[in-house]
Amino acid sequence: MLDTIFFYVFALLTIGGAIATITRRSAMHSALSLIVSLLGVAGLYLLQKAEFLFAVQIVLYIGGIMVLFLFVIMLVNLDQAAKERQFNRQWLLGLVASVLVGAQMVWMLNSAGVLSLPAAVPAPAATGPGNIEALADLLFREYLLPFEVASLLLLVAIVGSVMMAKKTS
């Protein structure tokens, strides 16, 4: 019962934040709405008993990436940016694309038989070692190669951005 209430609160935060992110004109408001949305997602992780993901979501996305977003937004001239005509006003194209994608998703879900929702099955009780140990086991044993490839990719991106930012002398 309590879980259901929390689920709806977090879902509302996530969706409401996401809608506000794309509808607000002020970049600052958009960024802060995005933070609310990310907080909602973190709460949903917590409801799924994925504590590690919850903490990492907040530490990385809200405490790291979004602060950098704010950092940039604070430095640009907001008033001018809000007055300027936005180049992403493609109402017709956007509408057609979103209807198409929506129809596709409904069709996919329907063919997979998900739309007729089955009765709720309670999540199995947590067994064995904790969440973090299980995650580490999967990450560093079964999926070690993809993990390392992803790290390498990020490293390349970091080195590349440093090279681009470096002044040519």
């Binding site: 600052m28 903490a55 530490v59 790291g64 602060v67 950092f71 604070m74």
Partner: protein, 404 residues
């Protein structure tokens, strides 16, 4: 009737509410008095006397300050972004105060047959939770700086967000190495892994613990802690000789006080965290039979000193106040000998004295060191702290994997 009362008090919600009230009351009082201690200590380091007018030795100064700040006019400048201007101090103080919820102060205790931990909630990701809260705390300062619509405030807010992101990296890496020794993310389990003694007299605290003593990580953590709490020598966000008062220039009344409260609460959190991770939490520095008498001896010595000074008064009122405080110290010292109270008071004494020594270090540094320049601050974080903490983590991981 008696049994009923105990079963009611043992109820999870009732028990939590009681603990919450205790912890919140003690924390808020401690925050107010921390400011008094800071002013007194800095004054004595600088050969002044500090607050003396309100109450004996200025002891009621925090109360007077609170009343002053609460009743002052709450000025709202006309050019601010109202919503975020009001939100910012709330965010700062909320995330700073909620950190106390996961910090354990002592072991499991037994009060009138009710067994409970001296902690509000033992999260299995306690340490990550604290990192998450400190990450959210940045928004209080950044938003305050931005919403004030003032160039000085904005620069203060920008400086603080850049500084806190930069120092969060070495801080997280310095935290990671004692975690390797403890093998857990729960603050309680980390502290419990440091119980006992090596060779019978060296405490198994992380900073001494074999195979990888964490002294270096402790130093790195404390330096990063100074930066995270925006304290001197890293208080660039509020450098008053460059930025008027930095991010809180436009704030007045209780909103201004909220930022101060948040700063002091963050200080307390950092010191608690350092104690739990590196200094063995609530475990004493010497083995048990001796350790049980140290609190009494410390209090008796303090009380004796106060009474001695009271007999040779330097100021008019010292004649009365000093002996009264001295007697109070003696009484508290004797409380530590009551067998019924010992399991509660002894761990609390060790925990609070370790936290207190670290807090004194914060104040001492503020009275001693000048402020960094901003480029020096960033260079220090990225070119010194970060590589050193990475290497330290590698060495620790290697030693733990090899020898444990």
């Amino acid at each position: 009737m008696n049994v009923d009362l105990i079963s009611i008090l043992g109820n999870f919600y009732v028990l939590t509410l009681i603990k919450l009230g205790l912890v919140a009351g003690v924390l808020l009082t401690a925050l107010a008095y921390l400011q008094w201690i800071e002013r007194k200590v800095i004054a004595h380091i600088q050969l002044r006397v500090g607050p003396t007018r309100v109450g004996p030795h200025g002891l009621l100064q925090p109360l007077a300050d609170t009343i002053k700040l609460l009743t002052k006019e709450d000025l709202m400048p006309s050019h601010v972004n109202k919503f975020f201007y009001v939100l910012a101090p709330m965010v700062a103080v909320f995330f700073a105060l909620s950190a106390i919820a996961v910090i354990p102060f002592g072991p499991k205790i037994n009060v009138f047959g009710i067994e409970t931990y001296m902690q509000l909630s033992d999260l299995n990701i306690g340490i990550l939770f604290l990192l998450a809260l400190s990450g959210m705390g940045v928004y209080g300062i950044a938003l305050a700086g931005w919403s004030s619509n003032n160039k000085y405030s904005l620069i203060g807010g920008l400086r603080s967000s850049a500084q806190m992101i930069s120092y969060e990296l070495p801080m997280a890496l310095a935290i990671a190495s004692p975690l390797l020794l403890a093998g857990s993310l729960s603050l309680r389990e980390i502290a419990e892994s440091q119980a006992g003694f090596m060779l019978g007299f060296i405490p198994r605290w992380s900073i001494f613990q074999m195979p990888a003593p964490q002294l270096m990580a402790f130093v790195l953590f404390m330096i990063a802690g100074f930066a995270e709490t925006n304290r001197i020598p890293f208080d660039l966000p509020e450098a008053e000789n460059e930025l008027v008062a930095g991010f809180h220039t436009e704030y007045s009344s209780m909103k201004f006080a909220s930022f101060f409260m948040a700063e002091y609460a963050n200080m307390v959190t950092i010191c608690c965290l350092a104690t739990l991770l590196f200094l063995g939490g609530w475990y004493p520095i010497v083995p048990s039979p001796v350790a049980d008498y140290i609190p009494t001896l410390v209090h008796l010595a303090g009380g004796g000193m106060l009474i001695f000074h009271g007999l040779q008064p330097a100021r008019k009122w010292d004649k009365y106040t000093m002996p009264v405080f001295g007697v109070a110290f003696l009484a508290v010292g004797l409380l530590f000998l009551v067998p019924f109270l010992q399991p509660i008071l002894l761990p609390l004494f060790w925990f609070i004295s370790k936290v207190g020594i670290l807090l004194f270090l914060f104040i001492w540094v503020r009275a001693t060191l000048p402020r960094f320049r901003y480029d020096q601050l960033m260079h220090f974080a990225w070119a010194f702290m970060f590589p050193v903490s990475v290497v330290h983590l590698f060495v620790t991981a290697f030693l733990v994997a090899l020898l444990k």
